[in-house]
């Protein structure tokens, strides 16, 4: 499967979008697609699509294009979706509960094992059959379970502390919703969802448009 090393972050960030569009095509019983057709749907150039896919293998066929089912399966593999991932959520506030209630992620192999919070009013409450536990139980839980991904939904003031606890107990992937940049060892992967940054980008772009009108 693997062809080249050192895939650029630009390419990596496009992979989930390929995955989503191919999943749609598959759902609509489309058998094959050319880079040109996919280009029109997904909004990348045909050339870029062919370049991107060729980082990982020769998935197409000259004169035919790409087999949707086959390509979808390859991209799923490339993204690591052939595995299952065990996750825990730390912080059962607004965003923590929202993520916990999502079933989308479960379906593609991200299994929620536990939810933790400091607030005694929350501990004991069940979200989708999972009881919110006191955060004091987290360390033991991590030792007893093989957790791949920690989802940090605590206030920013506590985020680094929680992150350290996760990392010190072998968690290698952090999905961080707190508005801070966490410090981690080099072998730990952080993926940030900085909602404020997204909203501020929107504000900038709205404003830029205004400026151009004048």
């Amino acid at each position: 499967m693997d062809k080249k090393k050192n895939i650029s972050m630009a390419v990596i960030k496009r992979l989930p979008k390929y995955h989503r569009y191919l999943s749609e095509l598959l759902k609509n019983d489309v058998d094959r697609i050319s880079s040109k057709e996919l280009s029109e749907k997904i909004g990348f150039t045909a050339s870029q699509i062919r370049q991107d896919l060729n980082c990982f293998g020769d998935f197409g066929q000259q004169g035919y294009g790409y087999n949707v089912k086959e390509l979808y399966s390859q991209i799923s593999n490339i993204l690591g979706l052939s595995k299952e991932y065990n996750t825990v959520i730390i912080g059962a506030g607004n965003i923590g509960q929202a993520i916990a209630n999502y079933t989308r992620f479960e379906k593609i192999g991200f299994k929620l094992l536990g939810i933790f919070d400091t607030n005694p009013k929350l501990t004991g409450i069940k979200i989708r059959d999972i009881e919110i536990q006191d955060i004091d139980n987290l360390e033991m839980f991590l030792k007893e379970n093989n957790v791949d991904i920690g989802i940090i939904c605590v206030p920013k003031i506590n985020a680094q502390k929680v992150c350290n606890l996760l990392v010190n107990n072998g968690v290698k992937g952090i999905w961080n919703f707190a508005p801070v940049d966490l410090a981690v060892p080099g072998d730990v992967i952080i993926e940030n969802v900085h909602l404020s940054e997204s909203l501020l980008t929107l504000a900038y772009l709205l404003n830029e448009k205004e400026d151009q009108k004048e």
Copy 2:
């Protein structure tokens, strides 16, 4: 204030991070900072920081650096945070409620005017003094109120329909949490938060690391 036109998206996406770091510095009573010092904190090169800031003006002073208070205020202005923005949330499910409960955004000028949902079990329920309304009221609400930003938190199947309704009633900014790419006229700004894409990126990176170990 404005200096050059056609700011690249790469620069724009870094602006909120400058804003956040400067806000931290301000909170810690730091008066001045050089591009070199900021570089060490924020993780961009000093050269890049100077280039980025110079897109918008000469905010620094040779031999001194940047005045934190002044620079923070400039960046806030550049981002359009001197204005207030009226927002509505469409979809009062997990993510809609989570966003509605955030007070962070209110503090920087994003005012939530209304929340809408199709589910009769939700209408009438109050979130932070705002009653969830039936989505049938949305069109009239948009005509009666000056809504700048529509926050789409509905299932993907309804997202484009909701988006059209917003756009047809003058909303120029869309903050989209549905896992679809929405079609809008050229004068409407879309900012996507595609959570699955973020999670799949994390999965890829975790897997890539595994591959390298072998």
